[in-house]
């Protein structure tokens, strides 16, 4: 007891933190590691975004303009790998690192050294992946799905791609284990599972998805590696293997992966809407069960990504109906967000604007997903730009917009300064308009038959591609504004209060802004009023 009191006194006197490079290299502090994840994700966002702009520049008009087809394919492949594994996932983990311990009243993550390792694997993994650009045969160009036999034709970069995927998997799995251990073992007394903020709930469920699906991806890419270098024939038809088997295995990972990307986004939006509607979240319990239902169902829908490879009619019907059934819990969530806003005293600060755009635009992506889930219709849409439009509505106006909303929402808490609201709103409006100019026309060219992953196209698709490219460049460049808002906020600005937002509820808002280096070294008293917003 006396030790604990001395400990507290120590922190009251001066909030001790390490200095110099060592603070970051050897960090075991959840806030510092969260910051590193977020900064890393932001850097990779611009790297992956630059690759998307190469794609959009090439597709501005038909014919071959700037890059050769091999490099174009590398751009699409690397853009996807970077955006999925280097941006959305690390940003989600970064937010979890920062917010989960503060939301549950824990002093830190359960396994802080493992937390450090989870992060520091990432820069090395991506250095390895980006290094493939300088190797014989170039960077991966067979699509992020890495289908054999095409992917095994990659040159020297192939083993580096495989090991990158392994490292990213190890990093994600360690992060997931950490989050589960933290929430299961480190909650403040009095905080039961049904008092957890929705963001924490979505992250527990995401963590279980990671643990269940990542080893499957690791297994699949290990089998690719042994097929290429060790004489096995898992996926080589000539040796008795089955290339289509890889697609089944990949998508058994790949579809849960989609929910790994989007469930934390649901959690962020579920924190923001009640705050700015100044009402508790409508249907908290149904939100938890809907999230769990989405995660559970995500393991039974994988083959909707590959209807066109051929499968028994019963299989097509099963995967079609299973896919459609996911719309039910997703609809519950959309309904609850709208019901939360119903008759609320709403204000429209930047986080709320991004959250509202998320609800509306993610729904468009959801509906086009339902269209793609209809087997006979999918035969028409498969491998066209309609698919590209669909998943960018889900992942850009869905996941990325929610991450932006979360960044604006929590920036004042992290930095102790309010961000520039005017610039934030300008960023929002330019982004929301340009992102629709970018992706909505892709529905049209897709329905008209334009194939994805091809650097050239038929002249009838020219106008919509030009419009899409203009939207792409405006959207890409407008993200520099976001970077400026963040830098400006870190450097100074109006001081943020503890609560920051008038309607904010939860343990994290009881801490000073910015929170001290060590928080909740004594567990807080948890009551219903602060447990979840």
């Amino acid at each position: 007891m006396s030790d604990a009191v001395t400990h507290e006194h120590h922190h009251d006197a001066h909030d001790h933190k390490p200095t110099g490079m060592g603070r970051w290299l050897f960090s075991t502090n959840h806030k510092d590691i969260g910051t590193m994840y977020l900064v890393f994700a932001l850097i990779m966002f611009f790297v992956g975004g630059a690759m998307a702009l190469v794609v959009r520049a090439e597709l501005f008009q038909p014919g071959l303009q700037y890059v050769d087809p091999q490099f174009f394919n590398s751009m699409t492949t690397m853009h996807a790998l970077i955006m999925i594994f280097g941006v959305v996932m690390p940003a989600g983990v970064g937010l979890a690192n920062w917010m989960v311990p503060m939301m549950i009243g824990a002093p830190d993550m359960a396994l802080p050294r493992m937390n450090n390792m989870s992060f520091w694997i990432l820069p090395f993994a991506f250095a390895m992946l980006l290094g493939t650009f300088f190797m014989e045969g170039g960077a991966p160009a067979g699509g992020w799905t890495m289908y054999p036999p095409l992917i095994t034709q990659l040159g020297d970069g192939f083993p580096f791609l495989i090991f990158t995927v392994h490292f990213l998997g190890i990093s994600s799995i360690m992060g997931a284990i950490n989050i589960i251990a933290t929430v299961f073992n480190m909650r403040a007394p009095g905080m039961g599972f049904m008092q957890l903020p929705l963001f924490v709930w979505t992250w527990i469920i995401t963590a279980f998805l990671l643990i269940a699906s990542m080893p499957v991806l690791a297994g699949a890419v290990t089998m690719l590696l042994t097929d290429k270098y060790f004489g096995t024939s898992f996926f080589i038809a000539a040796g008795g293997g089955d290339p289509v088997m890889f697609q089944h295995i990949f998508w058994f990972f790949g579809h849960p992966e989609v929910y790994i990307l989007i469930l934390p986004a649901f959690g962020i939006v579920s924190q923001i809407i009640p705050t700015f509607a100044r009402k508790p979240l409508f249907g908290y319990v149904s939100m938890v069960y809907a999230t769990a239902a989405i995660a559970f169902l995500s393991f039974f829908v994988w083959a909707h990504h590959m209807f066109t490879v051929g499968m028994p009619l019963a299989g097509e019907l099963f995967f079609m109906y299973a896919t459609m059934s996911i719309a039910v819990p997703t609809g519950v969530k959309i309904f609850n967000w709208i019901a939360t806003m119903w008759r609320g005293a709403m204000t429209f600060e930047t986080p709320m604007l991004f959250a509202l755009a998320f609800v509306f635009l993610f729904s468009i992506g959801g509906f086009s997903g339902l269209m793609l889930g209809i087997t006979p219709a999918d035969f028409q849409y498969h491998d066209t730009y309609f698919v590209v439009a669909h998943f960018h509505y889900v992942l850009v106006t869905g996941a990325i917009f929610a991450l932006m909303a979360g960044a604006y929402f929590w920036l004042p808490k992290w930095t102790g300064h309010m961000y520039d609201e005017k610039l934030g709103k300008i960023h929002f409006w330019i982004s929301v308009i340009s992102v629709n100019v970018l992706f909505f026309p892709q529905h049209f060219v897709g329905l008209a038959g334009m194939p994805r992953r091809i650097p050239d196209y038929s002249v009838q698709f020219t106008e919509w591609n030009m419009i899409s490219s203009v939207g792409g460049f405006v959207f890409g460049l407008s993200q520099l504004l976001f970077l400026w808002v963040v830098i400006k906020c870190v450097r100074g600005g109006r001081e943020a209060t503890e609560e920051v937002w008038e309607g904010a509820r939860g343990l994290e808002w009881t801490l000073p802004s910015p929170p001290p280096f060590h928080t909740f070294t004594t567990p807080p008293q948890v009551d219903e009023a602060v447990a979840h917003s």
Partner: protein, 43 residues
């Protein structure tokens, strides 16, 4: 001690640390089992 918040030395009391490590090992074993089981089932 009723009414007084439980003191907590950063979550690293021996008891809690052991529980965290036990859970982490259990989850890691699940990961290894899925990975190895998956490859072996395709041999």
């Amino acid at each position: 001690m009723a009414g007084e918040p439980e003191k907590n030395d950063g979550g690293f009391t021996a008891k809690r640390k052991a529980a965290n490590i036990r859970l982490a090992i259990l989850l890691a074993l699940v990961v290894v089992a899925v990975y190895a089981g998956f490859i072996l089932s395709h041999l």
